[in-house]
Symmetry: C5
Subunit: 318 residues, 5 copies
Amino acid sequence: MIRTMVLTKEDKLILDEQIDDILARNDIKWYWIDFSKPTIEESDSLQTFGFHPLAVEDCLHLKQRPKVDYYDSYQFYVISGLYHKTLKSHEIGAFLSPNMLVTFHTLPHMEIDELWNYLSSSQEAPQKDPKWILYKIIDKMVDASFPHLQTIEEQLNRLESKSSRSYQIQTLMEELFVVRRKLSHIRHFANPMRELIDRMIHSEKLNHSDEERRHYQDVHDHLVKLTGMIEASREITSDIRDNYLSINSNRMNTVMMTLTVITTIFMPLTFIAGIYGMNFQNMPELKWQYGYFLVLGVMVILGFAMYLLFKKKGWFDE
Amino acid sequence: MIRTMVLTKEDKLILDEQIDDILARNDIKWYWIDFSKPTIEESDSLQTFGFHPLAVEDCLHLKQRPKVDYYDSYQFYVISGLYHKTLKSHEIGAFLSPNMLVTFHTLPHMEIDELWNYLSSSQEAPQKDPKWILYKIIDKMVDASFPHLQTIEEQLNRLESKSSRSYQIQTLMEELFVVRRKLSHIRHFANPMRELIDRMIHSEKLNHSDEERRHYQDVHDHLVKLTGMIEASREITSDIRDNYLSINSNRMNTVMMTLTVITTIFMPLTFIAGIYGMNFQNMPELKWQYGYFLVLGVMVILGFAMYLLFKKKGWFDE
Amino acid sequence: MIRTMVLTKEDKLILDEQIDDILARNDIKWYWIDFSKPTIEESDSLQTFGFHPLAVEDCLHLKQRPKVDYYDSYQFYVISGLYHKTLKSHEIGAFLSPNMLVTFHTLPHMEIDELWNYLSSSQEAPQKDPKWILYKIIDKMVDASFPHLQTIEEQLNRLESKSSRSYQIQTLMEELFVVRRKLSHIRHFANPMRELIDRMIHSEKLNHSDEERRHYQDVHDHLVKLTGMIEASREITSDIRDNYLSINSNRMNTVMMTLTVITTIFMPLTFIAGIYGMNFQNMPELKWQYGYFLVLGVMVILGFAMYLLFKKKGWFDE
Amino acid sequence: MIRTMVLTKEDKLILDEQIDDILARNDIKWYWIDFSKPTIEESDSLQTFGFHPLAVEDCLHLKQRPKVDYYDSYQFYVISGLYHKTLKSHEIGAFLSPNMLVTFHTLPHMEIDELWNYLSSSQEAPQKDPKWILYKIIDKMVDASFPHLQTIEEQLNRLESKSSRSYQIQTLMEELFVVRRKLSHIRHFANPMRELIDRMIHSEKLNHSDEERRHYQDVHDHLVKLTGMIEASREITSDIRDNYLSINSNRMNTVMMTLTVITTIFMPLTFIAGIYGMNFQNMPELKWQYGYFLVLGVMVILGFAMYLLFKKKGWFDE
Amino acid sequence: MIRTMVLTKEDKLILDEQIDDILARNDIKWYWIDFSKPTIEESDSLQTFGFHPLAVEDCLHLKQRPKVDYYDSYQFYVISGLYHKTLKSHEIGAFLSPNMLVTFHTLPHMEIDELWNYLSSSQEAPQKDPKWILYKIIDKMVDASFPHLQTIEEQLNRLESKSSRSYQIQTLMEELFVVRRKLSHIRHFANPMRELIDRMIHSEKLNHSDEERRHYQDVHDHLVKLTGMIEASREITSDIRDNYLSINSNRMNTVMMTLTVITTIFMPLTFIAGIYGMNFQNMPELKWQYGYFLVLGVMVILGFAMYLLFKKKGWFDE
């Protein structure tokens, strides 16, 4: 879908005009053209603006990290945002000049839709300009990532308490795995964006006013906080996993000891019983008056001796 | 709760006046207004000072790492402190100008209460100014984190000795997990604060006097020491865990060997006894005069041979 | 194989002339000589150009990371590319001057072949120059590495889903191992190349035009993206492995518990049965009217008690 | 204990005078006052010198990493040394001016004692000055840490050879743990000191002569070497531990296989013997002429078949 | 051993003169004195050159990382090389001035011997100077380390293929351990040398000509390549170990499952057989006509039910 928004010099807002018509007009204050999940034919319209071929190619393939390229009469941005359905970072290309903003994204971003609707329905468009729109897109993208992280933090708090009760461990491991994947996605969104914003703040070519710089500084601070939260959460997942492994290893130890104690006590006893269960005709002990009781006595003593041995070795301390 | 402290030009200290009244007075040397765990209505008063909307929003949401923002007539700080009950780092917003300090925190901080009480009860307020109050808040926040770390170090010393006696291992693991969480919290307080203080010391916009710089340098040195202590403690927790896992793995080995030796010796013997416990009518060995003793002899030899085999394999060396 | 391409001042393209002849001509705009998997005799021809001995030695032995060395009338590049068959990084030496490009590689690179064929068959050679050819070789080398990484990412997606169903685990481990080796190869190609390109962009000695700089910046951006994708993939392999180990450790625990429960319940019971299977003449219990049923009752009670004990210990919770 | 050393302008060395007397004299070239493990009363004397309160507080509490603070007429150093008994790093405060050195340490350091004795007994004091004394203290502290590390390296060499013979493994783990603690202590001494010395060498405020700079450069080089040795030793401890865990895991595997082979072969055989040990009146096989031999034959074949199965599965390859 | 080489102003090469004689001559273009594994008496001769005491001390004790110290009329180098027998890095002290090179090493280095022999036998000495000799020593040291690394890489290739066939695992672990130790030694040689060479290239005090700088740049490039190869090899060792541990853990799982299945099936069956092997006089079942066959039937059904249970649980999937 391609949608267009034009603000004329008389502050009139015109929607959904053809691109060629827009480029032909000369009564324009600024215009914003948004390629949202364009078809291949729609993508071809990107050629009509006369942008540098490398930038157009980057836009179509988006094999870039977030960056800003400076051209004579415009800048080309690659910014990235979390796509709310997959939580994967997804690139957005943007061409910016004082009177033009062209955005290009192969997935439909809710945040851009919201901004579009706000501008087209409210009366505030005349007070805004392309620079502000781009800032607002970035700002909304960054803010949209916080709820995801807070969900993760709450999930980790739940997992943390679970881990000590060792309940449904396979589920716990799988949840941790999913959480780590999500954190990884958010980090691959946040880190490059932070670098980009930082470069934008310190860039002299962008001619930011103090107020614009302050806005981007604010976005940057949010990203720094976000990064800190991601690292803290990653650490917690590692600790939960290590903790679980230690506890599991300990439980295994207890289980093995139980098995070994039982086997070591009863196997020799069963063997003795087996001996006197043999059917040889000549087994003198069988005819003794108290043979049976003697053997029982030997068994009791042997079993008790083994128990004492294990006790002394400290196997029951735990 | 909102509390106010005003020092008039005649060095008189006035407490708990209304904010509007304070802003209206013009005989003021300086004032300090503290929003401590404010209600939502109280938070709204923050709007009356005319601060920059971004700063006010940061104050209310506090999604920032510690930072300082420079505005024309004031600076906006986000500093962080450990909340003594949860040991989690908690942000405090502060607006500072030569004659004003406005602090905002959604949890009641003991350290700020202490400072408030000191200033309002002692006679020293006239010698102080907002800059000093802010420094003192930061200083107290940092110093308040040392006792927590010392508690942790003592706890680790206890755990270290326990780990070698392998006593109550699940408890040990859980204590380690808690300690690591605490260390993580303190680190997430100390590192960003250190960066902030460092920036404050080297900032030229803050117009620090040599003495003020020295004060912040001292806070910075404490934070560096704190960071070093945290890292050392984290390392110890890792080492204790690794050590425990190695020892546990070794114990498991010993247990498994015991089980295997017992099983391997007695299972074949029990099988032999089982054979001669069968009730076939035609079993020639049963009628031999010395069949029983022969079988007993074979069992002794077999058992002893196995024992020698394991001994030769070195299973009893440990 | 040595192949040569000469563009005369009249924009005529001559192929496969002898090197000596080329060096002797003076109607040359530029020439490109490509040593592709040269024999030892062919390699010797490298001496005839009069290059610096250190550069020639580097070319023949290629013990270098990608680099550029500046000589008076030419530059010597070592660039690296993934050899498509082994996926190992492989060095290419290149001597560049405004009217000369000499490339030297001991393996036949498809990417260079493609470029050679394009230049020799199309009519575009007169518009190009050695600088552009070198850029294009690098560009193609970098782009050729993306499909490898995408294959790996798809493979990891498959493995990720497999790991939770724990299917054919040894195969999973071996696939992971192979993937990590491939990622390692690509990284050892991408990182040094990125450093080289970065140095080339900022080098003042290379006299790049804005357009050339833009081209290399684009290659650099691709390499940065590639590095990010590699790191993300490496992280996934670690997580899959850790996840598998946790699940495996958990399964082992369940297995051991089953074994221990069965052994602990049936070994004592079997022992009791063994006792009353002994053939002593004087065993009073054997003659009791209800001895058999009494023993059966004792066995049932004992077995049930053990079951309750394990249940209370929580061994069946999982 | 407080000890004092005064060199008068006539190069006369006076020992153990009162601090107040020293400060009152004006015929002094330089003096050195050493607070070695002072009592609380003795510590109070530190107030009499008129040092900055922050520096005095740092001296008394020593919550700092090594550092140097510049005051108008003196510098305040915090340096650290390994206390030879505990091998923990321990801070030393020092105030230095051209004619004064005041050192303060709460533990008695052998290295300072040695230097004190050397200066007070030899005739070299007139050729030295406070700057040199401080350098010599630092130099001795650093040199004193090398023997500790060499002991550790020898210990690791012993452990390395042990690990392959897998002898007394619990002891090995505990030794490794102790070694890692010691390495950690030395590192927490060496790293901050290295940073301090580096800052001292490059500081312009310290007015070091070339010769003094050379001296500190030498100390710095020793610390760099020390750090390298520590890292190498740490790496060895990790490798020994990992190696041990791999070997242990492998031994466990062998043990488990032995157990499983024995159990799997003998349990079914014992079961068959158990069947024909039952006392049913109507068991036709028991009356067969060759029943017994038939069963024996079946047992031999079954056991041999199992052996072949395991052999084919490769369980005896190891 | 001390050996001397003197080039007179008439380009005559004189070998093995006494040091005192050399220092006394004034017809010398340059001289090289090599202390190769000197006795303590020979080491004392180092004092006769009048070098700075710190440098001499460094030479005798060699507690340094590679470095260069600048003195008025000479430079003091500490360089390091791999001693070919132990593969440990070993320091070499060198004093360099335009007409003097004094090298000092406590182990006999093959590479220095080769260079000595080349200079003393060939006619090229007059074209060389001390600076070149030092460069050549460093160059040979660095080049000598490549074959070691190539041996390791081949060894790792062999191990990699072995690891998947899981053949002789203890041996594999020990080989890995040895390889990691060797890699560690080479790294402790390569990293500090790289830093030194880097400093030498950028040092302005050394007055390197372009050609000399190019030579050292070449050595530097080799060291960078070497470091890359070391890191790649280290990574492979980690991956092989992790891979092995995963596979081992998986095998253990299979073994445990086999054991548990066998035990769980046969223990209850053996118990039932044990019951009917008891000798109570009153056991009604024994007298039933088809009691035996009934019990056999129950056993078959029970065994088969268990088999189905395990099959359903997925224990035979692997």
